[in-house]
């Protein structure tokens, strides 16, 4: 009886937690469709004017474009570097493979601000003044742990005899990798890439030290906007971002299945 009550209490808590978690997100979405420039609750009226206002807002589109570029290139770079290293570790080509893997995944344990400061100082010391390339280099470090973890996990579940099997069936080595290894680790690849992209695209604490007036990523620009002139334009941008995330998740689900991705 009491056990029943306890479980009932747990279910209520779960419901409350879900409402609590989604409240700020749904509020932002709701606010983006209001008419008034102040955020009253309950919201009044319906309009799309804030979406139109994005175009006139200062630097938001340029920042989004920059963030997308950086996130894409950083993810691609760490996918290549991380996958090569992960193969060497999983196939035990190198001594102390576990230490190598732990090292490549360790930036996630370092507070973002510390990482950003370290890179700022290093960039200054080495005379790197170009914000774009500094950001890109730093974001490869930010994304590497996500790639490393997921690719390692899926590679270590992969049976490399399958590559040999494909070769005995008439596939050349590169062909065998393409036909067997790639489909086998694609779910891990996709979820690693997705996490990495999100981590880079949303990154604030590392970027804040590396941007300059002309080169600003979206989180920096958004926070600026929120602090200086908070109006529903920010909410409109945020809503579009949420939509894009959901679209990406759905696309991944169609491609490889979220269940397979989540199991990695």
């Amino acid at each position: 009886m009491i056990a029943r009550l306890a479980l009932g209490f747990c279910w209520c808590m779960l419901a409350l937690v879900l409402i609590f978690l989604f409240a700020p997100i749904l509020i932002v979405v709701a606010v983006s469709f209001t008419e008034s420039p102040i955020f009253a609750f309950p919201p009044t009226g319906f309009s799309l004017r804030w979406y139109g206002a994005i175009r006139n807002a200062d630097g938001l589109i340029a920042a989004a474009w920059l963030s997308a570029q950086i996130a894409l290139m950083a993810t691609a770079t760490s996918l290549v570097l991380g996958t090569l290293a992960a193969i060497a570790v999983v196939r035990r080509m190198v001594p102390a493979g576990e230490a190598v893997a732990a090292f490549m995944a360790s930036p996630v344990m370092i507070p973002g601000l510390v990482l950003g400061i370290a890179m700022l100082q290093a960039a200054r010391a080495f005379g790197l003044t170009d914000a774009y390339s500094t950001l890109l280099m730093a974001h490869v470090v930010v994304t590497m742990p996500f790639v490393m973890r997921t690719v390692l996990a899926s590679l270590s579940l992969f049976n490399f005899d399958m590559v040999d099997a494909a070769r005995t069936l008439g596939c050349s080595y590169p062909m065998a990798l393409w036909r067997v290894l790639v489909p086998g680790i694609l779910p891990g690849f996709m979820s690693g890439a997705l996490f990495a992209f999100i981590a880079s695209f949303d990154n604030y604490p590392v970027s804040i030290f590396l941007v300059n007036v002309r080169t600003k990523t979206l989180p920096i620009q958004l926070l600026n906007q929120v602090e200086i002139s908070p109006d529903p334009t920010v909410a409109a941008v945020a809503t579009l971002l949420i939509l894009a995330t959901v679209a990406a998740l759905i696309a991944c689900d169609r491609l490889v299945g979220l269940r397979r991705m989540a199991s990695i």
């Binding site: 049976n159 005899d161 399958m162 040999d164 099997a165 494909a166 070769r167 005995t168 069936l169 008439g170 596939c171 050349s172 080595y173 062909m175 065998a176 036909r179 067997v180 489909p183 086998g184």
Partner: protein, 371 residues
Amino acid sequence: MSLSAGLAEAVSEARVDPDYLRIEKVSKRFGSTTVLSDLDLAVGRGEFVSLLGPSGCGKTTLLRIVAGMLAPERGQVAVGGRNLTRVQTHRRNIGVVFQNYALFPHLTVAENIAFGLRAQRLPAALIGERVKEALAMVRLEDFADRRILALSGGQQQRVAVARATVVKPALLLLDEPFSSLDRKLRETMQIELRHLLRDLDITSIFVTHDQDEALVMSDRIAVMNAGRIEHLDTPARVYARPNSLFVMEFVGQSTRLGGTAAGGEHGSMAIDTGQGRLRAPGSFMAGSAVVLGIRPEAIELGEGPGDAFNTVRARLRDIVFFGARTMLYFEPANPADRILVDLARLPGGLAPGATVTLRWPVAETLVFPAP
């Protein structure tokens, strides 16, 4: 050994081309460990040869070298007269059934079987036909569209065989294909596989560390030890006339008595053992340490009728019943020795503790130099 009925036929075929697969002086080392050293092996066309040896003796390594997945330091491999040493795996046309099957989980059963045919870029209609045949051959017609992970172990095994044979390989290599099946299923599959390969007339090398499996299935058995083939012959001869103490110990069970050669003449000699002086065919220098081996079926209870038999007395320790046969274990005088007798029928009144007289033909006494 009923499956060896086709032996005569296979051997005569092998005579047509006894060197269809030729492995010559192949050596392979990993770091400082030498796994294969100057290994030679020849397999005739259409033959089914088992590669038998203890775990870690290099069986898989040899298969990988034959298939081209691993390069030997020295030596060469040729199939049908064609030297394959510099040929890449995918151009060797050698089928492999892997120990864990290595089926492709992202493909269906039919797609797995079609994989090799697609790699050859055959026309789709032909591929469909060949896949259908292969599915029928392994009795998996109803499973064509199943995912691999939704199959039982025995079904996966059959898919692996179908996938490897559908491309009509010049040579088929099987690496312990039954090791993850339970015993009942394994026995069925042994017979099934043997028939299948005979029908397809594919030359095969079959790796196993299960000696019964090797004895039942093979035309010939190659026993591997310390990086070489120690004995290559028909199952019956490997069992009855092992080349070395290792082969005798590895294949089947036997009585084992350590002793010292005490001289002799005309190819027969005397040997002093813990059970007294015995005789054996062969000639060793007097004083050299030897080991005698006797297969358990060769030994009978009771005094020998004459010169042609060795006779010993020993105390019976255990009687172990195996259904069709009964195994008797005796206490040897020397604890390093071992005496066992295999009887089809247990005489009444025999119980542990009794002292019994045993005899066996001198001609069936095996002698090896002591290790």
